[in-house]
């Protein structure tokens, strides 16, 4: 989604305030000055009605960020990002939003069709201008849907709202947990996010509550655009359970090339969080032009004993993916899981994996990673499993499989394993395979087309991970993987 709709609205709503902050006065310009400065941060904090501590937090992050360097250890290469050439608050609009679907890239529309997405929903995903979206809402009845969900959640005591609202309404909770898993100083992109994040989700599940439904950003996206610097904070209090779905399976029109999101999960004693992602942003054209740079920091803290955090991801989009959803296994007997399918085609570059940090006693972790590289793409699994001195009885099982389609792609596996406790047991399995011509011929001899055969073989390859996704998501994810690999054979 164009993350910027909200900021456009904000800038539109500026009147005299803008002089104070030195912004351009022409409202129709829909943009704040390029680049990042303290003034810019103060501005957005003020627009969000944030308390002083939040502003200070952002400013500290900004100061820190100025001293940091962009990481360069990942196996990806891209043109240098000029951070002062980015609009942090307004739409860096090269093209105005399409007035109707006629103006949307037909390739994207084709994909919507294949996914079976209703016309009206397509308009939302494609970012068709808001005046049309009113009608969309009516057809969708998303307002009433959202309301029903909200009431049910309220009954259960679950807080699920944009983080900007939570900062105002539940400052104590936010203050207590924000940055407690991914510190402000964590890494270049997380620090940048801390300074400029525009929105995201906030979830709090009270003690002993099993969240009555899967929480999905999908519902929220319809009411509000999320940011290119999205910030998500999920807290599962003692003995609670929540399953959270991020994203949706349709490719989203997005004019922001750089995405740097931060997601923090906190599971207290006996709590469980399942976090599932389908990421399908624009991967760039066949020559590798355009496409999203996705630099995400996702980390879960199993803070309480017996807590569980599960990351499941299906990654098919973005030109560059730099993403390592991790678990800190702090509580005794806590468990971390990471299930990943990363598909790359064209000239996509993926460097993704996880970190399992075993701190508590008898902590366990499990990593199942399936990388599929096609076209001229590069697909790297990078993972760390570590046991600290006190992590007696730590156990990990890692399985990393890579599948190559064609002769011009690359799959790479970079596991780091560190154990400082003699009782820790870590297992690592890895395979790299290719869809063989004989397999293809066998399938075709049975009547499957080349593409059907590829999809079938790939789905077999990723089955272990697909099973981890919520049912309705799994079906869509399966379709999505097939679509992403179209044209990768022959």
């Amino acid at each position: 989604m164009p993350a910027v709709q909200e900021t456009i609205d904000q800038v539109r709503s500026i009147d005299v305030d803008q002089y104070k902050y030195g912004f351009e006065t022409e409202v129709e310009m829909e943009k704040a000055p390029k680049g990042l400065s303290e003034d810019v941060i103060r501005f957005i904090s003020a627009k969000k009605g944030e308390p002083e501590w939040m502003l200070q937090w952002r400013l500290d992050a900004y100061k820190r960020w100025l001293t940091m360097r962009e990481p360069n250890w990942a196996r990806v290469s891209y043109d240098k990002v000029d951070y002062n050439d980015i609009y942090y608050y307004a739409a860096p609009k090269k093209n105005p939003a399409p007035k109707s679907l006629d103006e949307v890239d037909p390739e994207i529309l084709k994909t919507y069709e294949k996914l079976g997405i209703p016309l009206r929903e397509q308009e939302i995903l494609a970012g068709v201008e808001p005046q049309n979206r009113v009608a969309v809402d009516a057809v969708f009845d998303s307002v009433s849907v959202a309301t029903t969900f909200k009431e049910e959640l309220k009954k259960a005591g679950v807080i699920f709202m944009p983080i900007s609202e939570a900062i105002r309404e539940y400052p104590d909770l936010v203050k207590q947990y924000l940055g407690s898993v991914v510190p402000v100083t964590d890494n270049f992109f997380a620090t940048l996010n801390s300074a400029v994040f525009t929105d995201g989700s906030f979830v709090y599940i009270p003690p002993g509550v099993r969240c009555p439904m899967e929480l999905s950003t999908y519902f929220r996206i319809n009411e509000k655009n999320t940011g290119q610097f999205e910030r998500t904070l999920i807290i599962a209090d003692k003995g609670s359970y929540v399953s959270y779905l991020e994203g949706c399976t349709a490719p989203k029109r997005d004019e922001n090339q750089l995405h740097a999101a931060v997601v923090e999960l906190i599971a207290l004693d006996d709590a469980e969080i399942k976090y599932s992602t389908v990421q399908n942003w624009y991967p760039g054209d066949s020559e590798g032009r355009g496409g999203i740079y996705n630099f995400v920091t996702k980390r879960g803290d199993c803070r309480g004993k017996n807590s569980v955090i599960t990351w499941t991801q299906v990654e098919t989009g973005s030109a560059i993916t730099w993403k390592y959803p991790s678990c800190i296994l702090r509580g005794d007997n806590s468990r971390g899981e990471f299930y990943s399918i990363a598909v790359s085609n064209g000239k996509q570059q993926v460097d993704s994996g996880t970190k399992m940090i075993h701190l508590g006693k008898n902590t366990t972790s499990r990593i199942i990673s399936k990388g599929i590289a096609a076209g001229k793409s590069d697909n790297t699994y990078r993972g760390l499993v570590s046991a600290h001195r006190k992590a007696t009885g730590a156990r990990n099982f890692t399985n990393c499989d890579s599948l190559l389609i064609g002769n011009e792609c690359g799959a790479h596996t970079v596991p780091y394993i560190e154990s400082k406790n003699a009782t820790a047991v870590f297992e690592h399995e890895a395979t790299t395979s290719k869809i063989s011509e004989d397999q293809m011929f066998y399938c075709q001899q049975r009547g499957l087309s080349e593409e059907e055969a590829t999809a079938l073989i790939v789905n077999g390859f990723v089955k272990d991970v697909l099973q981890q996704l919520p049912m309705e998501f799994a079906v869509e994810a399966q379709k999505l993987i097939s679509i992403s690999l179209e044209g990768s054979v022959g």
Partner: protein
């Protein structure tokens, strides 16, 4: 009916088939025998449409239609089935899933409706029972960890389900014990019908005791060098291929 006319095929500049002629009529079971390296497996791959083989001359007509122009999946939909000598493994894909995908792909290609799941399961179960294939085998990933006999039975199960009109059995007897040979042969015999023909490729007479052919062809150096009735197989069993190897040298 399958007609092969003057088929000349090479792979990596090596001539394998040298002007092969063969006709298999509807309802006919034709056996092809011959020494190692005579081109029997190549013939089966070329009929099914495997890449890597360069067809220099000739044609293959299935009911008058030249299949050489068609992709392997189109040939399958047109009714050609190859039971592989070494069936491939498809990890993570349950046999049941594979069967359904294949059957529906063929039906779609022919413009027929896809089968409903209950209909499909009924058909699979019927075929599986006859081939003594246990249900849990259908849930396992296709051919992964299957014994030699299980793989061959799975091939025949696919044949039974897909109902092809022209079936090629490429050394289906290799790696089978006596019991498996009987089960597989019974499965094949059950599929014999006036509108379905078979090309049975084998080294040994043994299989032909179970699947009794209408015609027997001897292949050598990429050509059919002798044709006859089922008694020809017995003759070969007694005398070996020595006579035909000489003709190869000549």
């Amino acid at each position: 009916m399958l007609e092969i006319k003057n088929l000349v095929v090479q792979i990596e500049d090596k001539r394998i088939l040298n002007g092969l002629n063969l006709t298999v009529n509807n309802g006919e079971v034709a056996a092809i025998m011959g020494p190692n390296g005579s081109g029997k497996s190549t013939l089966s791959y070329v009929i099914a449409g495997k890449e890597d083989y360069e067809v220099l001359d000739g044609e293959i007509l299935l009911d008058g239609q030249n299949v050489l122009e068609m992709e392997p999946d189109a040939r399958a939909a047109a009714g050609i089935f190859l039971a592989f000598q070494y069936p491939l493994e498809i990890p993570g894909v349950a046999s049941m899933t594979f069967l359904k995908a294949a059957l529906n792909a063929q039906r779609k290609a022919r413009g027929e409706d896809e089968l409903t799941t209950p209909d499909f399961i009924k058909r699979v179960n019927a075929a599986a029972t006859q081939l003594e294939i246990p249900k849990d085998m259908l849930k396992r990933a296709l051919n992964v960890g299957f014994s030699g006999g299980e793989k061959k039975r799975m091939e025949i199960l696919q044949m039974a389900l897909l109902q092809p009109t022209f079936c090629i059995l490429d050394e289906t007897d290799s790696g089978l014990d006596i019991d498996a040979l009987r089960i597989v042969s019974e499965g094949v015999n059950a599929l014999r019908s006036p509108d379905r023909s078979f090309l049975v490729i084998t080294h040994y007479q043994r299989l032909l005791n179970h699947i009794v052919p209408d015609t027997v062809h001897v292949m050598s150096a990429g050509r059919i060098v002798k044709s006859g009735g089922k008694e020809l197989a017995l003759e070969l069993e007694a005398n070996g291929y020595a006579d035909y190897r000489e003709s190869e040298a000549a």
